[in-house]
């Protein structure tokens, strides 16, 4: 399950992108997950078949890192603390690592559904 996003629409229009980028940066920082050392893709709910499959397809290193970030964030949350500044997720580290895989799986499912409902016309 990928999150709904306007990003594609905005990126296509340079003037809108120029206008939105500072706003988006402000929002991502304000959301607070970076202060717990998480990435945006760590916040995708796991409770769906698609995401579970995508997690299985993650490269081993990525999967380990993800679990590490999550545990660290839980720990911080329990202790009611934020990570020290140098351990915050930097904006350039906050890259989508899971959503491309989710999109791929969704595209597969869509293709399957399309092929299932295919009607053949012979001329």
């Amino acid at each position: 399950m990928s999150q709904p996003s306007l990003a594609g629409y905005i990126v296509k229009r340079p003037w809108l992108k120029r206008w939105m980028t500072p706003l988006a940066n402000w929002y991502a920082n304000a959301a607070g997950y970076r202060k717990l050392g998480l990435r945006a893709d760590d916040l995708i709910p796991e409770e769906s078949e698609t995401v579970l499959l995508a997690l299985k397809r993650l490269p081993q290193k990525e999967a380990y890192d993800r679990v590490y970030r999550l545990r660290r964030a839980f720990q911080c949350s329990l202790a009611h603390q934020l990570l020290p500044k140098d351990q915050h997720t930097k904006p350039d580290e906050d890259v989508p690592y899971l959503s491309p895989i989710i999109k791929e799986i969704e595209a597969e499912a869509r293709e399957r559904a399309d092929l299932e409902s295919l009607s053949i016309k012979k001329n």
Binding site: R57, P59, E108, E111, L115, L118
Partner: protein, 462 residues
């Protein structure tokens, strides 16, 4: 319904004549015969890719890419099996699902399999769909993605099942073991990795992709078709195989095969099998090292009956029939530069023990020259029939031709094989088992080792 009185008698007659009475001399136009009835392959070189086709008349076509990437040439265990399983998976242009569904819609069938020397990717379809399937095969060998998730979710699973299947199959284990003992590396590599092979060390999606890049190169592949015209095939191959690299990343090579011989015994609970093997002749497509007398000897020894409800009249079937529960079969495995003449026994351990010593006696009697003229004639006829049938058989002919082409030999030409087998004389045949018995034999026993005989007990040298 029109009442009888409404139509005059004449009209009724005319009507009846029209629908029911067909003139005796009416015939359809003669259908143009597409293709010939010849069983020989036309070969050509299209932009570096070897192409062979046999234009057999019929509505269906079988098209295969034969790559010189069988287990003999794999650079690590299991790579050939892995590459075989990756055929028709996701490519850069379309997904595996789409490939399957599209070929289903066209009524095609897609398979991939391997032998010790060749990896075959094959499609069967209706004649008019040749362009589509040529494009598909070209795409499979150049554009496959070799993704990690397909390897873990689909390929690895099938390989593990294959390993388990092999573990339960006693006769397959015995044949693999005999090849290993006879040829060590190269041809001796088992056809499927055995269940205790440390696969995870060698096999992953990137090693398979690397193997593919060296296996699917122009000098390594041949496109063989059955039921397609040569011009048509050459045209489409010229169009769709342009992306195949003209030289492989790292050459897949295997040193010239040497025969070693020896004995291997494997304990197994699921049945018994004993293989006695001797060095044989290379396949017909290899050229000069082809020895037709080995094929005749295999037919003379026989084992499998060619008629129903009878043990048959070949030497081995006579030997085995006195020990109920044992069956024998002689097979000649021919490869590009070597061969293995194997006699395989299966059944209960004690029956195998007795039948195998009888079989060795039979071999000795041939070398003494005590075979009747009748037996000899029968063997030549049977060998000739087997060879010709194999050539006529689309499946075997396809692989033999492709393998012959990529190994730099010639295509499988059916009429010449018949001639060479006919040329075998009785004297020449006698000399063969003599030389075999004097040289080193290969013995593989799988099953109840307490009963199954050692080579020493059979009187064979190892």
């Amino acid at each position: 319904m029109i009442s009888r009185s409404a139509i005059g008698g004449n009209a009724q007659l005319a009507l009846r004549r029209q629908c029911c009475v067909k003139p005796a001399n009416r015939r359809g136009l003669a259908a143009a015969v597409s293709g010939s009835t010849s069983f020989s392959y036309d070969t050509a070189d299209v932009g570096g890719v070897k192409v062979a086709s046999r234009d057999v008349t019929g509505p269906t076509t079988k098209l295969a890419v034969v790559a010189k990437a069988g287990t003999r040439y794999q650079s690590a265990p299991g790579l050939t099996t892995g590459l075989e399983q990756f055929a028709f998976k996701n490519t850069n242009k379309r997904s595996a699902l789409r490939i399957t569904r599209e070929s289903e819609l066209l009524g095609g069938q897609l398979t991939s399999y391997h032998t010790r020397e060749a990896l075959v990717i094959e499609a069967k379809f209706l004649r008019e769909d040749l362009p589509y399937f040529t494009e598909l095969l070209g795409e499979v060998i150049t554009q496959t993605k070799y993704t990690a998730h397909e390897y873990h979710e689909e390929v690895e699973h099938v390989i593990k099942l294959n390993q388990k299947k092999l573990l339960g199959n006693v006769s397959e284990l015995a044949i693999n073991s005999a090849h290993g003992v006879a040829f060590h590396r190269g041809l001796g590599t088992p056809l499927y990795p055995s269940s205790s092979t440390p696969l995870s060390k060698y096999l992953n999606e990137s090693s398979i992709a690397q193997f593919a890049s060296s296996a699917y190169a122009k000098p390594n592949i041949a496109v063989v078709a059955n039921g397609a015209s040569q011009t048509e095939l050459a045209k489409w191959v010229g169009e769709f195989f342009t992306e195949v690299p003209s030289s492989s990343a790292s050459t897949l090579s295997s040193e010239a095969t040497k025969y070693f011989g020896g004995e291997e015994r494997i304990a197994h609970d699921g049945g018994n099998s004993l293989v006695i093997a001797f060095p044989g002749s290379s396949s017909f497509t290899a050229g000069s090292s082809y020895k037709p007398e080995i094929a005749v000897l295999a037919a003379l020894l026989g084992g499998k009956s060619s008629i129903k409800w009878s043990p048959g009249f070949s030497l081995l079937s006579k030997a085995a029939s006195t020990f109920p529960g044992a069956s024998a079969a002689t097979t000649h495995f021919a490869y590009s530069d070597a061969g293995l003449l194997s006699i395989q026994f299966s059944g209960s351990a004690s029956a195998i023990r007795n039948a195998s010593s009888e079989a060795v006696k039979a071999l000795k009697s041939i070398s003494d020259g005590s075979i009747s003229k009748e037996d000899f004639t029968k063997a030549v006829a049977s060998a000739k029939y087997n060879a010709l049938e194999e050539g006529q058989n689309i499946e075997a002919g396809l692989v033999a031709t492709g393998a012959g082409l990529v190994h730099g030999g010639k295509a499988f030409q059916i009429d010449q094989i018949g001639k060479s087998i006919e040329g075998v004389s009785a004297d020449k045949l006698k000399s063969v088992p003599k030389a075999l018995l004097e040289g080193k034999a290969t013995i593989s026993a799988v099953g109840d080792l307490y009963v199954l005989p050692y080579a020493e007990e059979l009187g064979l040298k190892i």
